[in-house]
Assembly symmetry: C2
Homo-oligomer: 418 residues x 2
Amino acid sequence: MSEEGQLAAAAGTDRSTGTFEDARARLELSLMTEPGDPRLAAVVEAIGAVQTRHVVLEGHCALGDAGQRWRARLREHAIGRAEQLLERHPISTSGAERSALRWVCPGTAEWAVQLEDLGHVEPLQRLAGSPLGLWARGPLHLAAVADSVAIVGARAATSYGTQVAGDLAAHCARHGFTVVSGAAFGIDAAAHRGALAMDGPTVAVLASGADVAYPRAHCAMLDRIADTGLVLSEVAPGSTPTKMRFLARNRLIAALSSGAVIVEAAHRSGALNTLNWAGRLGRVTMGVPGPVTSSSSAGVHQLLREGGSVLVTRGDEVLEAVGTIGRHTAEVRRGPERMLDLLDNDAQAVLEVLQPRAPWGVATVATRAELSVDEALRTLSGLLVSGLAERSDDGWRLTRSAHEQLRRSRGARDGAPT
Amino acid sequence: MSEEGQLAAAAGTDRSTGTFEDARARLELSLMTEPGDPRLAAVVEAIGAVQTRHVVLEGHCALGDAGQRWRARLREHAIGRAEQLLERHPISTSGAERSALRWVCPGTAEWAVQLEDLGHVEPLQRLAGSPLGLWARGPLHLAAVADSVAIVGARAATSYGTQVAGDLAAHCARHGFTVVSGAAFGIDAAAHRGALAMDGPTVAVLASGADVAYPRAHCAMLDRIADTGLVLSEVAPGSTPTKMRFLARNRLIAALSSGAVIVEAAHRSGALNTLNWAGRLGRVTMGVPGPVTSSSSAGVHQLLREGGSVLVTRGDEVLEAVGTIGRHTAEVRRGPERMLDLLDNDAQAVLEVLQPRAPWGVATVATRAELSVDEALRTLSGLLVSGLAERSDDGWRLTRSAHEQLRRSRGARDGAPT
């Protein structure tokens, strides 16, 4: 029996989220570990946060050595610290607490469900998992961050890069998309500022606490973001950033957004890590080229050479890549029975060929639907977000719900009773 | 019965090339029409040049209205003009005539057989067909232009573009590849000069006569190319360029080379026409990105967004795309029985999955060979040049010869008698 299986047997399967008890347990667990701990994420996924807290406190043998460390840290630090934090900061339940720095959790009205996609991808650099919760500062409703574009890139950006990033962000903001980035020097700051200049919503995801201005020089910009958008963090208020926290933060930028654009990145740039997460999560990945004589564009060119990413040169190309299906998704949610009529031709072609059981690779889907691999990937990503397609390690297939809806819709088209 | 069928029945099927009579007939026919006439190419392909000359002169009814115009032009101009030209210029037979401006034809030792690929693709802008022959000026043996890279781009190039084009050409020349271009202002000239600076062979294909300096300002550069490489033209000595001759010339640049790189091109640039031909001919097509703020790179970015082309940033990436299989091809020609051992892993993977009968699309080949679409396309292009794969409208398949060789090789590997 697996570790999670043993724990589930011991703890029962009550995984109710959205309660005060669950939110407090999640906060305590988040204070017990560093963000992105794949083992903790797996245990919480299996038995829920409240039961995880319980088995950690009782020192369940299935948790092994880590369990002993967790237990000590939970008892000696996390429980007390959580109590202090909850005296000063609210837990977001309805999203009405948006004036304050607040703790937002899965299962509540303000949670951004797309973050859960992180629970379904393999670890990268030993980081994985949907966050236990997020600290949020600013009036934007986290769940409203649905149509969003991550714009990331080099700290040591050129004036070319910052100009392009600012223009792309302004275009996205003007068309109702939220710009997500990391508030770093260079491209990140240019992206936030491009959105702010349009009075558009923008989200900064930090590796420090959501109340800590990092870098210090961006204090005023972060306050401005917190006035109109959101400053988010997986680590507690007051925390300082570390290398691992930056890497863990990158996965959140990728998971929050519908697609990620990289503007300038040297070889081995940290921004490529964000794009890597975006690709693994089925998000559209995009790169803005630059002069081949500029080392600041070398990482972007490498990404584009590897295939699977879209070369973009203008804001409308970014929105074309991420936008179409996002828009349709909104329609689909309102009236699932009219789904097929609302999808564009590419999405219909992919749904026609996807199977409910046998998973297929992107290239196979592309061939059968007569699309390019990029088009197929973009479409599948949209169908994933819409809950119509799902991805396993072996490839893509229809969700049960999509299969049912297609069956009904085909019946209706053929004049058969539904 | 088709027009060509009627003509073949009337004329017999003697299509012997490599004779003086054939070369003179080809020259006369070339003087009778503009280059790239798809109807004439089809007739010559069907019944040979000597018989075509014959049926044109006798005014065969299957040639229709065009036949009357051809007949008048052949009798009143082309035959006499050919005689004048042949008094002053030799026909290349063994390639020993390389000191002079000469007429090079299919079926002779100096002919570049890859030009024949033009006989197997659909017309573009009403131009098509393998050239009847080429005027050549310079010491380079035309048949030796096998490992070659076309480098083309904007006339109105920026200093960025000319620098990159020169660097790429120098790299290709240094590694034994011939640089093919069109001698125009901007990128073309930078490419030729990059090769010349390395004392590397370079080929200029002109829309004017091979003895006409066009543009005039490039007179010295063209003489320099003719001192070490080749100046080629499909039109007679003394001819001036026209718009259609430029378009017809582009197909020759594409067909001569193993792959084509575009460095800077505005939207709707003529250089994109060359890349279009290259793609249709199964050559590797490559683009060098630039700043998205530069209109001189907009056409390149559009090409790269369309898929099927490789983004390249350095000379070694160009040679990686065109080079590997070209090198192996040379080996293969020496010892076909060792073919499989000499091919790289990608080529072996593609040969393993290609079928002798059922043609497959690139995406299917990519999936089955577990390659990216770009890798598969690059590999297939190489196999095409090697005569191991062939392409029809329905997709790619093994050639009969490759199928035979694979069968023998598998027999040998399994220990069976061959």
